[in-house]
Symmetry: D2
Subunit: 215 residues, 4 copies
């Protein structure tokens, strides 16, 4: 709902003015609003996304409380379960407790009783996910309630949700989540959303990007 013109018209109600088309010089007003943190004109532009993402990303996402959410509930349904299996696994950073580094780990040793063997991390995560899914299905088939059985499902399980947010709070989301401090998987979502939003409010995104560079 809305576009760059909605932003400037909302701002110009303070001068009792309104315009029919977005003019080049309106970008100056958008720059002023962003610089002075005049948030409200951006709040009349609203987006709804349908997101599919692993649980551990979902939990980071939903810390953004100015979004409205509706999510699949594993109390209601045990269908359509699948898992995020990364192609590659990153090493832990030494100098940053929070981060990973670009260097990858391909294989790890798996201890199986007295025997230890090498296995790709991807296969290990994949096998474990399948094992847990089978274990979950078994609990369900034998009558355990969905709301309890789900506790054994891991955090790489996918979930789906509708998320509705205004443009100001979306810019705040993009600033925090498409940042070098954010987890790689989170950044991918932020980048995908930025592209969608850019096609709808190109002037706002253009100026917002420039301002970030000069901060």
């Amino acid at each position: 709902m809305g576009n760059d013109l909605s932003v400037v018209n909302a701002a110009r109600v303070s001068l009792n003015r309104n315009s029919e088309t977005f003019q080049d010089q309106d970008e100056k007003l958008i720059k002023y609003l962003l610089t002075k943190k005049h948030t409200s004109p951006f709040e009349h532009v609203v987006f709804t996304f349908l997101v599919k993402t692993p649980l551990f990303i979902r939990s980071q996402w939903m810390r953004h409380r100015m979004w409205s959410y509706n999510e699949i509930s594993r109390r209601y349904t045990s269908e359509n379960i699948d898992f995020y299996i990364p192609e590659s696994f990153r090493k832990q950073a030494d100098n940053n407790r929070q981060a990973s580094i670009d260097e990858e780990i391909d294989n790890i040793n798996i201890r199986d009783g007295f025997i230890s063997h090498s296995k790709s991390v991807k296969n290990h995560i994949s096998d474990t996910s399948i094992y847990l899914f089978e274990s979950y299905k078994n609990l369900i088939e034998q009558g355990v309630s969905r709301e309890q059985a789900r506790m054994i499902l891991p955090q790489n399980m996918y979930t789906s949700f509708y998320g509705t947010v205004d443009l100001w709070n979306l810019l705040h989301f993009l600033e925090l989540r498409n940042d070098s401090h954010a987890q790689y998987e989170m950044r991918l979502y932020a980048q995908a959303i930025e592209k969608i939003v850019e096609s709808i409010v190109p002037s706002t995104i253009k100026i917002w990007k420039k301002l970030k560079l000069t901060q």
Copy 2:
């Protein structure tokens, strides 16, 4: 943005379901959501209104903090000033500190030095508004800053604002503001908004009205 179908599809994401058209039986789901106060499915339907209203109604309105607002600023402009002059004036209720009663007051005595004369309340409010407007213009013409000169403008001056709100918070607004405890002028706005909203989400409004009657 959105309609009755958006509400039920947002709710049904919890079951991993989606539908293309609104069915009659979907009203049962809307009733369930309203009854159980499942607010989030209604938050994906969003409205923007352009409102013109006197200051004393604006202040009541803006207590609703889940709306996004952009309002004309009397720091920016001294143009397009007009006033709400009621056709009739209601008497104070004796048994309810907050309320007025339907009985009207037509004329009051105005003291002018030693002389007292009768005048309609409407004319008195109108004359006072004109006097204050002229006084304000005089201050502006002689260079007093708009941000200070405005302090002499009365609360029946009209203001304009954009207000954006989701359907759930709009229902909450209508419940409080189209209520017998609300001021008559406020109720008129709430009733006008209810009609607009009814044309966009007829099933939600129909069921919401029924539920209010049975509470």
Copy 3:
């Protein structure tokens, strides 16, 4: 922060009044405020809780977006991990997709290749949790980043968070979460919180409970 007296004094600012002590007749005012959904006087009473709860309860909890949260991050630390292992497991309800029933399941059949054996659900969940914890530790020890390794941890893992909320939003939380539609584990938390809150704002809780019964 605050108590029953804070509520009535916040409400009475509208009459320009203030009192030093809570009087018995102030309960009438609290009843009026609750009945008419005058939320703001309750918003000046604020609580902070330190909560330890399994992930699947945390996710329900954090849908309440008017709380402020700070949570342990598994990007930062791989220490102090433990799991919720229920003493008993409830059966799925047939007539309510969302719910469980009081009847319990003690043992299930576990298929292990060609062999099937009986095992208590509790032991199965416990063994699986230990297996996943060991698997996680192994990934960490061999250098996989915490932010990726955690994806294999199940949703019965405990998390900890600070949650701050005002009294009005807390009452809304208790209404939804100490309800027959809420998951049993969630209700236990809601009941514990209700007891704590009752000791601090006894009049508000007393009247709120009465009003719920008569709805």
Copy 4:
């Protein structure tokens, strides 16, 4: 409610740590949180203010929607009415539509029928306020409802409200309202609040001020 230590303990729950006293090195953490816009640890520190301010400042203030407000209602009471009469009046800025300049206006010409005489702006505002107050009292005495009679009261009338806000949103308020773009009268309130807050969370305010200077 809360202090500098509450902020760092809320932040450190993410590492599963807690401390009993605020250490000098904790200021580094506060700086990091402010720089990276990690808002949530500041949300567990909460302030309640009792504010007396003219209506035109109140309206700016209440645009901050993350505060909780309870305000005197002129539907309920016609008592304790007084007005803000500035000692001096600022001229309108030529190059900034929104602002005033430091230069003052002492006297203006008042037209009274055919006669024009010089009068100090202060006396003119004071006389007009008294006239409107007497006019309002007259309406009330003759039975006009308070909710309608108040429409003639000007925007320099004082109002009172309780405002409750968390530390993060208070810092945002101070940033916007103790700014050269804010109206002088608004800045006075922001400065008074900053002093109060500084005495309670001195480290947070110290670092926040430094960061503003380097932006």
